[in-house]
Amino acid sequence: MKQFMELKQLKDHVFDGMSIMVGGFMAVGTPEALIDELVLLGTKDLTIICNDAGFIDRGVGKLIASGQVSHLIASHIGLNPMAGQLMSTGEMQVTLVPQGTLAERIRAGGAGLGGVLTPTGLGTIVEEGKQVLSVAGKPYLVEPAMRADLSLILAYEVDRFGNITYNKTTRNFNPVMATASDKVIALGRKLVDELNPDHVLTPHIFVDYVVMEVQHG
C-alpha cells in the first residue's frame, strides 16, 4: 500500500472515460462512500464493471442514475429499472456476462492470464462472436481476461500496511477486483494494529490507497 488518503483525494485518481471495477453484489459489499464521492465529482463516460446494476439509490446504481456510466459490464441489471431503460434507449451500453465468467475473467486479469476456457454459455447467445476451443474432447468458450484502470473495493479490517479482511457476504467480487486494476482504492471499515497473517484475504501489495470510513453516531 502506498498510503491512507482522505475521501476528497479521490479526485486525483479519476478521469473521464476511465474503466472502474466496483465490488459488491446487489450493493452488499459496495464501497458506498467512494461511489458517493464519484457522483459528486461527476466523472463522465465511465465503463463500470460490477456484478449487477445495484439499485437506483444504492451501489453503482447511483452512478447510472446520475448519467455517468456509458458502458456497464455486469451479470444482472434486473433490480435497477433505470439501467434497463438507459439500455433500451441506447444511452448506456450494457454487456451482460455470466456471473462466474465475470469473476473468472477478472481473476485472470489479475493473474497474468490471457483468459479462461469455460463451458458456461455454450449454445447460447453468449457464444456469439467467440472462439470455441476443444480440450480433451470437450468444447469451451474462450473468454478474455478483464482489467480496469481503477478498482473500488469495500474492506472490513485494514491494518497499517493495507492488509485487508472482508466481512461475511460483503466479500463477493472485492478480492478478485483488488488484483485486476492499475490502481486499487479500498474503503476500510475498521482500522486495526495488526491482523493475523493467516486471516489476510487481500495482501497489502495489491492495495494502493485506503480511505477509512467515517463512523457515524
Binding site: F25, Q99, L102, A103, G123, I125, P175
Partner: protein, 219 residues
C-alpha cells in the same frame, strides 16, 4: 389450485429430491421456498452464489446482519459450520461440479433439457446472473415452475426464447407432475391426481413419454 398452493406443492416435491450431505443451490422465487420443506432427517448444505455455504433461516430482529445476504439480496443467517468465500471460489464450486443439485425457475424448458429463463427480447432483460454457470456446472438441475403461463405451455418441443443453457435440465417439477429428461425424451414420472393425464398432455407442448407414471405425493 391457487398460485400459493401450487408453489407449496412444487416446493414440497422438490425437497424430496435431496440426499443427506448434498450441496444445494436454490434460485430466487419459488425455489427459495424449497428450503422450508426439506425433511428433518436430510441435512443439506445450502449454497448461495454471492458467497456462502450454510444458509440458515431468515434472521430475527436480533440476528439481523446487513452484511449477510443471499443471492437475491435478502437478509439471511449462517448456520454453524457455514462459511463465506469470494465470487471466484463460489463459481469454482458451481462450475467445478461441487454443487449436487441446483433448483431454479424457468420461462421455458424443452424436451432436450434446454432452458430459457434470462431474457425476453424487447421486453425484459434482467441478465443471466449466475444461472448459466449453475445449470452448466451442477450435477443435477431441477426446474421448479408452474406448468403453464396464463394457460400457455412452458414445456416445449424447442425453446423459442434465447437459451440459458443447452441440454442441462434433468428434472422438471410442476403442480401437474414430475418430468425427467432422458436421452430418449421427456418422461412423465409422476402426476398430480388432481389432474388427468390428458390434462397434462394438453398443457404440455413437448412430446411426453408416458409409461405407468406414479401418483405424485401431494400431502
Amino acid at each position: 389450485m391457487d398460485k400459493m398452493a401450487m408453489k407449496k406443492l412444487i416446493a414440497k416435491r422438490v425437497a424430496q429430491e435431496f440426499s443427506d450431505g448434498d450441496v444445494v443451490n436454490l434460485g430466487i422465487g419459488l425455489p427459495t421456498l424449497v428450503a422450508d420443506y426439506i425433511p428433518h432427517h436430510v441435512h443439506v448444505h445450502l449454497q448461495s452464489e454471492n458467497g456462502l455455504i450454510g444458509l440458515g433461516p431468515k434472521p430475527s430482529e436480533e440476528t439481523y446482519d446487513p452484511d449477510i445476504t443471499n443471492a437475491g439480496g435478502q437478509p439471511v443467517t449462517l448456520k454453524t459450520g457455514g462459511m463465506y468465500f469470494d465470487s471466484a471460489l463460489s463459481f469454482a464450486i458451481i462450475r467445478g461440479g461441487h454443487v449436487d443439485v441446483t433448483v431454479l425457475g424457468s420461462l421455458q424448458v424443452d424436451e432436450t433439457g434446454s432452458l430459457a429463463n434470462w431474457i425476453i427480447p424487447g421486453k425484459m432483460v434482467p441478465g443471466m446472473g449466475g444461472a448459466m454457470d449453475l445449470v452448466t456446472g451442477s450435477r443435477k438441475v431441477i426446474i421448479a415452475m408452474t406448468h403453464t403461463n396464463k394457460g400457455r405451455p412452458k414445456i416445449l418441443k424447442r425453446c423459442t426464447l434465447p437459451l440459458t443453457a443447452k441440454n442441462q435440465v434433468n428434472m422438471i417439477v410442476t403442480e401437474m407432475g414430475v418430468l425427467e429428461v432422458r436421452t430418449d425424451g421427456l418422461h412423465l414420472m409422476e402426476y398430480n391426481p388432481m389432474f388427468s393425464i390428458d390434462d397434462i398432455v394438453a398443457a404440455t407442448e413437448a412430446t411426453l413419454i408416458i409409461n405407468n407414471p406414479k401418483k405424485m405425493e401431494v400431502s
